[in-house]
Symmetry: D3
Subunit: 319 residues, 6 copies
């Protein structure tokens, strides 16, 4: 068994199982077809070209198929590429399953659920507590599986729950430092802010936007869900409005997708915490394989910046 | 009885009834209090100063009071101002009521309702028709009274219904010219697009934003209302999503308050029709009292532009 | 004979005549030359690759040549591509001419001219009428052939006249709904607004910008033309200024190419009508071949949006 | 006779003649009318209040009247203000005339005309030379009197000609340093670039925008004038297009009023020279009365910046 | 003794000592001079008018003077204003001093210094530790007194140190949650980021910008100070560059005053922490006197937003 | 020997020495490796492909190697490309050196140094003179070799000095036309404004940004250098601040890299002169090989504009 994709270096010879994330057919300039495969394991992705593929190959090596291959890691225009020596599809005999090949949060879903439940348990305002608990329970299964996005940050299985747990921790420590913050509102805002993504996104694997996601979006979806939850629970107090406002304004500005700017303290803070956790996740991903004294790849969602790892920092671990 | 405020000219002597829209106390530089009164009738507004007012006066001449006064129209820094010679509060004996002093749409509410109902009647898609009828009926009373805004355009009693009726006519003629348009979606979009204003605004007189209006806004309010209506009517087809998208995107862009840009043809057209009717209303208001060869006052909501009336156009009527 | 390009689907086998719109030489990675041909008929365009072309081929298969070919429609990165089996140039014997292969307006030029003439006939202001008639007559031939643009909208033979006719209809129906509009100014604005394009663009086939188009632009060209027409007709009244202003401001803003923003009512409306007709044309083009429940290609000139066809709408006709 | 307004300091007692540039009536909080007078001489402006003015005073002390007054210079909210002790209108006996009270260029119009003529004389391209000479001659009288703007820079009698002469000098020295520049085009561009202001502005005193200025603007006016001049001179070569492009693009960008960006070298340089001369004029005006170690008033047209005079620079002269 | 200014309500009668922060002379419309006084104590500010003041009064009631007065709190256009019944200057006999009247941080400077020193003590990288300690020591006195700004946030005595201490706490808790952060860099960045303000600002009372502050700014000042410190300490390692980059980029973007965007992880986080603490401080100040169910004053530095205090939150304490 | 690269035309056969500026390995669609070489001589660059290269070739044909080749100039997608017939590395026997293959300023470094020294000599303010001389002397060697940028303008050996000399000439002629300018400040600003590039850039050949360049930038580098120079020379007068401000503000705005906008007259002028010289250089480069009546390539750094050479201008020289 070879080491994970994320730890590949030019020249590595590999023989291992990989999941095909996508397979796109092309025609080479000599007129022959080829396949561009995106191979993945639970540590990352790598591109491979299958030159001169047959119609059979096109049928066999498709998205979501697991393959076994021999190959060598090479460099193509500054990015790693897998040179395939041999490749074959797998069968039941290989005893491999898709779940082994997908990235997921470093904490078990059940543990994250318990942690979030604890935050809900500590809420003092009954209205806020009941609505939050109701909605989390309603979407619990999808919530625990969903990524937080299709790309950029937390784009892996259970990424949404992981994002929420991290944000709750930041929320808690900020609330200790700034005692004017209402932790009930803040925790509820954190837990619900992206919950609409369970309807906006198609699910944990090969994530895309649903029609509802494209036309309505997770913000408006959740504002409506809160209204419906409040109705079911017969709550009509101002807390409902506050929760809706927290969701509605958490992108901070109109041009970032929020039809209203934050006008309660907790809404402003929710927006900042969301930013911090997303950015930390993106920077950590970009820098984790970078050597001291080098720059990372550019991060599109952070103004296309490339980040530097000071030469007096530690080099990355090899595995 | 004098002519209406909108037709006042410098030097006019008036004796008439007026409604006080607002009364703000000030202190002159000689230390004496005075009141700045905003007087109105059904044709417009004019400012007046009541110098050296007594505590009694402050109690008497308040917002929503109707007064009888003698005065003269003068010019103050390029705007008309009423110089008060005498002023007195009115009593039941005067037989005047607030409704006589407010601007309202030029068509009777009942006639507008009939016209809108006719458009709903003609819809062929039952889902769209039922949801539209349900929501209009639910808010019918407030809808027929509500202004379309606190200022800028259609800011008068029944202004919202009047705006909708005008837009329906534009929608109908565009649909005749561009047959690819789905009139069911377009008419429903027009009728519902601002209906959330019945909860966003405080009502027809001295209109302000409600707390819900400030924190959630009429767009998100109506998206939720459509979801609830669909639930009550047991409709879960794609039409619901389309109606929600029409509402959500009708401001056209994030920075104008729409969290999603229009991505169906009728949504783009709804946004353009809304623009046309609002702008026509603002330009007509600005130009109606302007003489040929002159410029209007600046229109804040149209990039602060001042509009010109060509010298070969007709002068405004005097009454 | 095969069906038109616009109706091609993957797997279709074709044998038909096509016009080569452009032919660009490339060198494949095996060092051999190939041609990228843009083939067209009156319904649309499709790309084809001619691998391993000879110097003779390069001379034969050039822009504006008509060819006869056998081929098969395939998919290349999500776009249709023609796989050529055999291709030959045509001769007089084939009895085909370029005019058969170009897209043009769905109404005959002469009919459009009559319709526009009727609008001019109805004008009541003699100055406006004479200038409009004078300029239309001066450029009549080019006007009836010209596209309205090199791409985006109405980019076909007689596209300019077709755009004007559609806008006149919208103008007429808006003027009925908003009686304050001066139809003389508005119709004249519509007829003249893009007339400068007869000098800005190179003509109906393979349209490019002229030097004058690039350095001066159709707006300034037409402002000057109006001045010259007025001189010839000995008209020096304010109508001249108004017509010039209508042309000058019809793009709405400085950053969109108008050195002055609209400051007369008809100029603002002209800008809005121009927008409506251009956008309707772009959306209709993008959506006409889209199946219900699918999204269109992105429309660059509309903020790169992709439009959705609701699943309860009709599928496109096959021919 | 007192020293000029520009040299006034708090506490100065004055008795002198002044021109009233504007007189605006106000009503004090004690209900009495007063006049706000803008007094001027050839060095600058100062505000004065005439408290408790009679109807007679309102008739007498109007715009363009010359008055004789005794007063004292005081400070009002950081700006100088004239406290009037006595004031009287002037008569023929006083032997004063408006021309003595207006700011004008520091060079005589005739000398500027000669200098400009010399630049035209040196042109080698006959087409450029003839068009430039033709247009300068056509508008010579107005050109020599006109200000370059209503405010901001060169807003004084003959300011336009002075601006042109300064720019010609800069153009000449740049052309010596960058020999690729075509001086014929550059000089012609400088001479004609703002010539349209003779029709855009109302004239040298109390300058406002004409209707044509507001609706068409000096750029489009001059583009048309060049076309007409070329016609009269029977010139139809590319030089005409180049001259029009120079005028059209000299504001540099759409949002600054140029419908086309510069695409010939001389057009880009013309825009930069225009900027330099305008900014130097504004900075010099702002700094000329400032003491070393102090900041100037804010310059609105330069992003509202306040400029600093280094403490090792010379103090301003007193007269 | 009356309660503090921050706790004043309309109608309160006061007799107390106040510090005059500013005194501006005006002329009333009756021609008589008056003074606008900004009175302050350690809890806040209130405006007062002194009508009909004598030349003596102007000399006496100046900035930084302490006065004793009887008055009544009234309302003027929605803001509180002090109506003065009697006022007198104070003498040594009154035993009051300026320090008693200024707002300052809620923690003693010495305690803050100790806390910051502890963070420095914990640093593991000797280069970072030595430079930080050196610079803090060099500016220690001014640092402990300085406000963090002239207005907006932490604009009080020791505001800078208080801002730093708060940020260190946030930094510490984020570093615990995101273990990839280098606390040495982050703490040093927090301690030094605004230290240049001791040269940018004039000091703790009546704070203004120095010439160096206006022309160079605290960011560039501190970048230079780090270079000089490194030289003195003979440190030329990459840590110097990192510290300079932290300072340089902490405003996040060019348009916010940072000539370089953050490209190390700690720089991005420093920017976010600075934002959080500044915004929390502004929101807390705006909301602290607001009743539940009401909106605060607008906060200029937060896009002019007005914040809402939910009606289920606690009302403010009275003292 | 063939003519220089800049004068190549399609079809030219060449046999000559070239410097390899960069060599990037690729894999063709037939799976074979190839090299993309950027060849250069002292007149320009041209791309070449070396198909089917061996591992040996990869070792031999690397950046900075000089090669001798036979080939033919061809056209690839509108850009020139070298088709290699034969290629070999060079040895000492070939007697060629890198310096012969790089573009450099048209004036000898020593002559430029003398010219700059003369400007310093003429300074009257001793503080400004001493600091300028000190810093120029300190970095003299690197300054005379450095390019002014990695691309866009003056991106050649000694480009920085050449840029400074050109700007000094413009500065001198502007100072003659606008006598209020302080030439000491202006000349010093010109000489020092980009001097920090000797630390920001890696040197004259294959120029890249240094780590210090990326994280701190030449502006902040030079501000610190001035502080250090002043310290060494024991100068603490306001001139130091002025020089620092000139450097700091010379990009004009925050979004262009200047943390402070210009607030002294000479700083504003420095920014404008920098612009003029950079733009003249870019336009001249783009237009020098363009035929009359044609457009140049697009200039990325000038809003991606393509410039036109009037058809009545001279064609470019052939050598």
């Amino acid at each position: 068994m070879s080491k994970g994709i994320r730890f590949h270096q030019v020249g590595d010879r590999v023989e291992s199982y990989y999941l095909i994330k996508s397979a796109v057919k092309g025609v080479a300039s000599n007129g022959k077809p080829f396949l561009t495969l995106q191979l993945s394991d639970h540590t990352g992705d790598i591109e491979a070209k299958l030159w001169g593929c047959s119609p059979d190959d096109e049928m066999t090596f498709t998205s979501q198929a697991i393959v076994y291959l021999h190959g060598e890691v090479s460099d193509y225009r500054g990015r790693l590429q897998m040179k395939i020596s041999s490749i074959r599809p797998t069968t039941a005999m290989d005893q491999v399953k898709v779940a082994d090949f997908v990235r997921s949060a470093p904490i078990a879903p059940q543990d994250m659920l318990e942690e979030i439940t604890q935050y809900i348990f500590e809420m003092k305002n009954a209205n806020i507590q009941r609505i939050t608990r109701h909605l989390l329970k309603k979407h619990q299964k999808a919530f625990l599986e969903s990524p937080a996005a299709t790309r950029n940050h937390h784009e892996f299985v259970s990424g949404l729950a992981y994002h929420v747990v991290s944000m709750l921790k930041v929320a808690k420590s900020l609330a200790e430092l700034y005692p004017t913050l209402d932790t009930d509102l803040l925790y509820a805002g954190v837990i619900l802010h992206d919950l609409g993504k369970v309807r906006e996104l198609s699910g944990p694997i090969d994530t895309t936007y649903t029609l509802e996601g494209k036309l309505i979006g997770h913000i408006s979806i959740m504002v409506t869900e809160i209204a419906e939850a409040a109705k079911e629970l017969s709550i009509s107090d101002e807390e409902v409005l506050m929760l809706q406002h927290l969701i509605l304004s958490h992108h901070g500005k109109g041009e970032w997708g929020s039809p209203k700017v934050p006008v309660i303290r907790e809404a402003e803070v929710l927006h900042m915490i969301d930013n911090i956790d997303a950015k930390m996740n993106m920077m950590d991903r970009a820098l984790e394989r970078v050597q001291p004294g080098e720059f990372s790849e550019r991060i599109m969602a952070m103004d296309n910046r490339s980040f530097y790892k000071p030469s007096f920092h530690e080099p990355p671990l090899d595995y």
